[in-house]
Each structure stands twice: as C-alpha cells, then as structure tokens.
C-alpha cells in the first residue's frame, strides 16, 4: 500500500489552529444524499504495467466474489443511499482479467439487491487487450458501457502503456477495438496525456477522430499514489496550447470528435447541474466532496468514498482511507467513527478553502480531494494541477475562443 508523504489531513480549519471536528449528518444535505456511482474494483491485478499508473498491488491476483458485489449494492439499499439511478463502474486493475461468469453472477446479484425502482447502468474501463467475442457478448447481454484506455497513436501509447516485459500494447488494444466494432459496440476512450503528448496535438486529434469514439476524455498525467510526479507539471503553457488546439478541432469536427473537457466546460458555463446545499449553503454539485456520492469497493469488500483513488492509499502513521468493509459494516455507520470523521472534516475544509480562494469555485464546487492530498500534502488545501488542467483552463479557453469568435462577428461584439 503506497503512502503519501507529509500529509496533514486531520481537523484543522483553513488558517486556523483549532481542531474542531465537523459533524456529519445526512440531514444537512439537500437534495438528500444518494450514491450515484458505485466503483467496484474486482481485482487489483492488471495484465500490463503502465509507467504512470497510481495503483498499488497490480501483481495481486485476488478476486472479488459475486457475494461481495451483492453486499456492496445491498448496503446502499440498507443505508437509504439508493436513488432512482445508479452507475456501477468496474474498474482497476484490469477488470477483464475476471471471468465472464463473475460478471453474469454479479450483475444479476446487484440487480436483485437494487430492485426494480432503480435503473442500474454498468460500465467498464479496460485496456481492451482481453476483449474477445465472448466478452463482447457479455457487454451486449448486460448493456455494459465500455471505455477503452488508449493514449493515441502507437508512438504515444507505447511510450507508457507497456507489458511487464516492456513491450508496447497498442497493437493488442487495437485488435480489441476491432472486435468491439465487429460486434457493433460503441465505446468511449480515455487517454492519459503526458508531456510527450503535448507537441503532437494534431496526430492525437487525427487518431481519435478517425477512431470513431463516442467521446474522448483526456486524463492529464497526475501525481498520485505510487506515481509521484506529473510529467506536465511546469509545462502549463504547452498544456494550454494543446488543449486550445484540441478544443478548436472538436468545435470544427461537426460532432466527430467529442472531447469531454470541452463539453464539460460548455456545460459548466451553461449552468451545469443544479447546486447542492450543505447546512443551507449552496455549492456546485461535485461528487468527490460529498460523502457517499461515490462509493468505492475493493475486491475484498473494503470501501471508501470521495475520490476513488483514495481507496488503497495510506497516510503516514498507518492511517488509511478505508472506511470499513461491506461484509461487516454499513457505509453510513462508518461515518460515526474514524477514519471517516477526520477525512470528512478535512474534505469539508478543503471545499471551503476553494470557496474562499478560487474564482472558479462556482463552476467546480471544491476540486478533487486526492489531488489536494497528493500534490499539496493536505486534503484541506485548495488549488491543484488537476484544477488547472481539468477545470480552470478548459473554462478559460472556451471563453477566450468564444470572445475571439464574437469579435470577428459584426453582430456579436462583446
């Protein structure tokens, strides 16, 4: 289990010295708290070894049982956290390393637990190397939404996404994509954008436009867990140029290239989701800072909340971010004790730090706790590289491009 250095994540208000806890009461939230995303990590094992991966234990072949998956869903029902819709994401390490029968059993068990009044959507993020006809039929049988992790053309992808022997994986990923296409399965792509990607925006955009993905998400190289530093730290002018050009390509593609960061920036500027309130104070909806909006469950039933990556991290002094285990305790029950109480206080203070110091708070609602921890060493801190690359710069670029377009339009001068 990797640790993060110099962590301060206990009860310290921004700028203050008192260690007052912040009570957690589900009644403080409007609308009522519900889990939108259940992240199930069926195995820590991954069949490849990307050099930027944050995950610990990628050689560990432990497996979740369908009974654990059922219990993870049943706990949502028991705790009153189940709403009308729930997305289940099978994620981390490589979920297709699990047998097909596991998914048939688990998806059925989750459906039985959640009942007929909740629409459950299953999604799976994969490197696609193990996609075959049987797995395609699995996706079709259960309506599983598929996301493929691919970093662009081979020269970019194979620079980081490697086998254990150090060979590139692009060709095998493309074979898996071909199989998806043969079965008529549409998919989105997620690309990790590193420093090596930034000078090659045209090749990057050409590749994904021709790949025909439903949507491209760019995960900009982050410092997390066992991956101690981001390759794009200090290259933010280059990042801006990359993103600006990618957005221009998306805008000019007539829908052939949908870039998640572009679409999300447009949505944020258009009003985004309705705000949420905590103790009658409104803030933008940000699932990463709301308890149990995201619930993450490891293969053995250990669970966490807030940023998914926190599950599996540990702070010095042997404090972990594991809140409990679904086989032994409920989610809300875990909120009565440590480590939840300290974690919640720190996340809440981090949200207030964002409100007090960031002009973009109204579009974000408090950033990403795991990035605050890993970049700043403090869950109660504010701005991170993640904020700049995923929230601030996309908004600034969309605004700048709109202003430039308007200035060239005689009837739309701003």
């Amino acid at each position: 289990m990797p640790t993060v250095a110099a962590v301060r994540w206990t009860d310290r208000p921004p700028g203050g010295s008192a260690d007052a806890p912040i009570a957690f009461d589900p009644a403080d939230f409007r609308p009522r708290l519900s889990t939108r995303l259940l992240v199930l990590q069926p195995t820590p094992f991954c069949n490849i070894r990307c050099d930027y991966c944050y995950l610990p234990d990628r050689d560990d072949k432990s497996r979740m049982s369908p009974g654990t998956a059922r219990r993870a869903a049943q706990r949502l029902v028991d705790d009153g956290l189940l709403g009308e819709r729930l997305t289940v994401i099978w994620h981390a390490g490589e979920p297709l390393a699990m047998p097909i029968g596991f998914y048939d059993e688990s998806i059925a068990a989750i459906g039985e637990a959640t009942g007929p009044h909740c629409v459950v959507t299953h999604s799976l993020q994969t490197n696609a190397m193990l996609v075959d006809d049987d797995r395609c039929r699995l996706f079709l049988r259960h309506g599983v939404r598929v996301g493929v992790s691919i970093d662009g053309p081979a020269f970019l992808h194979d620079a980081h996404r490697l086998t254990r022997r150090g060979h590139g994986t692009h060709a095998r990923t493309m074979k898996g994509i071909e199989r998806l296409r043969e079965h008529g399965i549409r998919f989105h792509a997620i690309a990790v954008v590193t420093a090596q990607t930034l000078p090659h925006v045209e090749a990057f955009a050409d590749f994904f436009e021709s790949l025909g993905v439903t949507e491209l998400g760019c995960n900009f190289d982050e410092a997390e867990g066992g991956h101690a530093s981001s390759s794009i730290e200090g290259l933010e002018a280059a990042h801006r140029a990359f993103l600006g050009r990618l957005f221009a390509r998306a805008a000019a593609s007539a829908g052939r290239l949908q870039v998640r960061e572009h679409t999300q920036a447009l949505r944020r500027l258009s009003g985004g989701s309705p705000p949420v309130t905590w103790r009658r104070v409104a803030q933008p909806d940000n699932a990463q800072v709301q308890p149990f909006a995201i619930v993450n469950v490891a293969w053995n039933g250990d669970f966490g909340s807030f940023s998914p990556e926190l599950l599996g991290l540990a702070a010095p002094g042997h404090r972990s971010f594991t809140l409990g285990n679904v086989m032994h305790s409920g989610y809300v029950d875990s909120a009565r004790r440590e480590p939840f109480t300290g974690l919640w206080a720190a996340v809440r203070r981090g949200t207030e730090a964002c409100r007090q110091t960031c002009a973009h708070f109204d579009f974000c609602g408090g950033g990403a706790p795991v990035n605050k921890l890993c970049e700043n060493g403090d869950l109660a801190s504010a701005e991170t590289l993640y904020c700049r690359s995923m929230v601030k710069r996309p908004i600034e670029l969309v605004l700048a491009q709109a202003e430039a377009a308007a200035s060239n339009h005689p009837e739309r001068k701003v």
Binding site: G15, C50, Y52, C53, Y54, L55, T87, I89, A92, T121, S123, Q125, R145, G147, H188, I190, V192, T214, E215, N219, E222, E224, H227, G234, E236, G255, Q258, R260, T263, Q264, L266, R267, L269, S270, S273, I294, P308, E309, Q356, T357, D362, V370, N376, G377, S381, A382, E383, T384, R388, M390, K392, R393, E396, L399, Q401, A402, E403, A405, A406, V414
Partner: protein
C-alpha cells in the same frame, strides 16, 4: 493552509490584477460570461451527452 503556490504562467495574475481579490476575479469571470450570453455568443454543448456518459465519472486517475 498549504495551497500550491506555483502559479502557472498562463493563469498568473497580470500586473493590473495583482491586487484583485477573489471576489473581483469572480465578478470579472461572471462578467465575461454574461457579456457573451447577452451577445448570443456563449457556445452551447453540442451533442455529446456528458451527463449520460460514463466518461464523466472516469476523469480521475492515470489509466
């Protein structure tokens, strides 16, 4: 508060903005948006239903 003090050049305040408070920056940002909206120049989301897409949930992590 241990905020990241390494402000990137592209987001660093310009000389005239050095003393701008967060509230001033917020007002300036909202003003730009409102100007675009009034001019009918604020772009709208085109297609891509992010709210229905699993991609909205996988904006964490490298991989």
């Amino acid at each position: 508060m241990n905020v990241n003090t390494s402000v990137p050049e592209s987001l660093a305040p310009q000389p005239a903005q050095v003393c701008a408070s967060v509230d001033d920056q917020r007002r300036e940002l909202l003003g730009r948006i409102e100007s675009l909206r009034q001019a009918g120049a604020l772009p709208m989301s085109h297609g891509g239903d992010v709210s229905a897409s699993v991609a909205q949930w996988t904006n964490w992590s490298n991989g």
